[in-house]
Symmetry: C2
């Protein structure tokens, strides 16, 4: 059945995206396997345009008969809408690089239950006072197909497995703050040992609570903390839609130095470890590596087809579609902050006095228009003479461009982080020179 | 096929909850119908217990064959878990009141597109400068079935239709803050006219921006603003699990006066307008009207079966299950703050100088252990001599018990609010006596 041909009876242009998602996972809560589940989602998003008027319909099926009915519903919506004078047409047919990801076989819930069960035993053995308060092990299989009336036709598969652990330490009636770590992988091999060891190491030191005494000190942000801050305070400024609307402070700054030469940032869906491994974005535009910052110099924005056309630019293949509302936006597939040369261990061992931040609270209330932020670093750790000597909590407020101009060193290790549209990717730890902090009582 | 009988081969006790949910809706964005969608979710949660060890498995199907396999997976999970020494057993068979809700017929997406389309025309006619930035019209049909090995067997149906509008006003280059209103109904009749008129009225006055000059003034919280504050700062203290764990400031206060005599609060799933109209909770315990506060006096907590058993109390039928994780928690079905006697209009017309709050930002970071909160009232409005004369923004911080002791008057009108587990219900507007506020520049 040629769905596009059928849809051309109603529309000048038509796009159909089908999505199949399978997610199998198991969860842990308070040292017990709390549940396991298996979920399969099928969804089709139909977007048709007639005389510049768009209609979008979403249906939870990928069957031809349901899509046919959906096309008629989309046509009904287009009729009641106004024409969009800026409508640039759908993307043209294009060629894609080969889809090199080898999608591993489906696993049963037992597989993920067994991972968690061994982890629980491992934790009990390594630190009987530690408690796994929460966690999840699972895998997500994603298949999409995009067709449009300009000849776009692309199918792709993606797979991500994930392992998350949230632990606390107990000492008498005292408990440590929650310690969190994650591993994300494109195969079924998740590094549970690294995550467990990292959490237990932090719990041990977190039992010693220190007041954050210094008012200005070097601060090392671990990959997850760094991604939280950049996702909310920095990355929105690289969104092409914001450039057009005049709400990006980076508008007109291409070619200018905007941060330390030690920092390069790019979106890299081609990377074999890419969190979203895609050859085409959700409009069927071929994806590519897009440089945003090169040794501190602003290199460009991320674009989808619509906003690129309005700005007279080329789409960078960063069109992302909400499977819930059908709305198109702009987002990274795999945001990478380029690694440095020395190991995290070496960087810490050279710190005389300073702090390490594992995670932030309140990063989401950063101001993306200005880069201003005010966050609570928790858990954070105190470093003295190259040793982590205790845990602490402090407030950090400032401007993301100021601190990104104040980078002392970038670690050579990258960690995969899976958060919202703009945050997913691979991040190093970054040590910043003297940042002003404010202690918080706990 | 007797699923419970089959499960008894693996378990001492077994509970099966099946859920069917249909949601049909349409959305609006920037004065256009942005999409419509139809979604059907089927899910079964299996909870089995063997020798005090629990196993929970979730499957996205309600078919016998899938549930049979799920029972075996739940058994596999129970095996690796530790026994819960406090496990009270599953609820016993019980009788339920009649399910009186008449669930209306399914509607097509066209129905909701047409509602939005007429609303857009109505807005254009009534205020050409107003813009509908977002909104949704839809209906959700929910059917559940709960069975357990103690003889619980109950089926129920629920329906909610909703209509949400977010609007702004434009005056030259100036835009007003977002103005939001909602109508929730147990039939297909949603009051779009009331929502449209309420938004347009607020937009008109919001074009005049005033600085919040008074440092201490009467503050009238509209139903939605009130629900936000109470949901995060007050209601968690009525959760029986928190009473047992010692994190509720209300522990041991039953019978004591905790707030103004003008306030009564109860959970009322029997109310014909109940947001969740259920005869049994998610464990099959019969629901009832539960008084929490009667004329200012603390009357009790909300309980599910597990925490009630530990506390030596009776479940109030407030067990809620997450359809995502299977986890049981405690929540209200239809939280009602009892109405007063005078109309909102009369209360406002008696206000010499004061403020009206439509919505808060930051209510989620309230401290549920103490009742302390710090929120930004936005949009808020300035009242002078009984007239709303402009919009404003201010900060309000304090303690929810202090302000609930400081109630001047409760409106006779209630509005249905649909938020998280604890917030959904029906709320009046409440006028508080002199609250301390801090202006915020916009």
């Amino acid at each position: 059945m040629n769905l596009i041909r059928y849809g051309e009876k109603f529309f000048d242009e038509l796009e159909i995206q089908k999505i199949w998602k399978n997610e199998v996972s198991s969860s842990v809560e308070l040292n017990q396997i709390s549940s396991a589940s298996s979920e399969r989602i099928e969804r089709t998003v139909i977007r048709g345009v007639k005389d510049g008027k768009a209609g979008i319909y979403l249906v939870d099926s990928t069957k031809d008969e349901d899509i046919l009915k959906g096309i008629e519903k989309a046509a009904m919506i287009a009729k009641v809408n106004d024409p969009d004078p800026h409508w640039p047409g759908l993307p043209e047919a294009q060629s894609y690089r080969a889809d090199t990801l080898e999608v591993p076989e489906q696993k049963s819930p037992e597989h993920f239950v067994n991972i968690l069960s061994s982890v629980l035993k491992e934790v009990k053995l390594k630190d009987p006072k530690a408690m796994v308060v929460g966690g999840e092990s699972g895998g997500a299989w994603l298949r999409t197909e995009i067709l449009n009336s300009n000849g776009v036709s692309v199918e792709q598969n993606d797979f991500t497995s994930f392992f998350v652990l949230v632990m606390i330490g107990r000492q008498g009636a005292q408990v440590t703050p929650s310690i969190f770590d994650i591993d994300v992988s494109k195969t079924h091999e998740v590094d549970t040992k690294r995550v467990v060891d990292s959490c237990i190491k932090k719990i041990k030191v977190a039992n010693t609570v220190k007041k954050a005494e210094l008012r200005e000190a070097p601060v090392l942000m671990e990959p997850f903390a760094l991604s939280e801050l950049l996702m909310f305070a920095l990355f929105p400024a690289f969104n092409g839609e914001r450039e057009v609307k005049g709400t990006s402070v980076l508008a007109g700054k291409e070619g200018e130095s905007i941060m330390s030469k030690k920092v390069s940032i790019y979106d890299d869906p081609l990377n074999p470890n890419a969190v979203s491994h895609v050859i085409a974005d959700d409009e069927g535009v071929a994806t590519r590596k897009t440089s945003l910052v090169e040794h501190g110099v602003m290199r460009g924005f991320l674009w989808n087809h619509y906003w690129a056309s309005i700005a007279g630019r080329e789409s960078t293949g960063n069109g992302l579609r909400s499977f819930r509302t059908g709305a198109m936006s702009i987002g990274a597939h795999n945001m990478v902050v380029a690694p440095g040369t020395r190991s995290l261990e070496d960087i810490i061992s050279d710190m005389k006095k300073g702090y390490i931040v594992s995670s932030y609270q309140g990063a989401h209330s950063s101001n993306p228009d200005t880069g201003d932020f005010a966050v609570v670093a928790n858990p954070a750790f105190v470093v003295e003479d190259g040793e982590i000597v205790g845990s602490t909590v402090f407030m950090l407020s400032g401007n993301v461009y100021d601190i990104m101009n104040n980078v002392a060193e970038v670690s050579k290790e990258l960690r995969s982080v899976y958060m919202g549209m703009l945050g997913k990717g691979q991040y190093p730890a970054i040590k910043f020179e003297n940042l002003k902090i404010a202690p918080v009582s706990r």
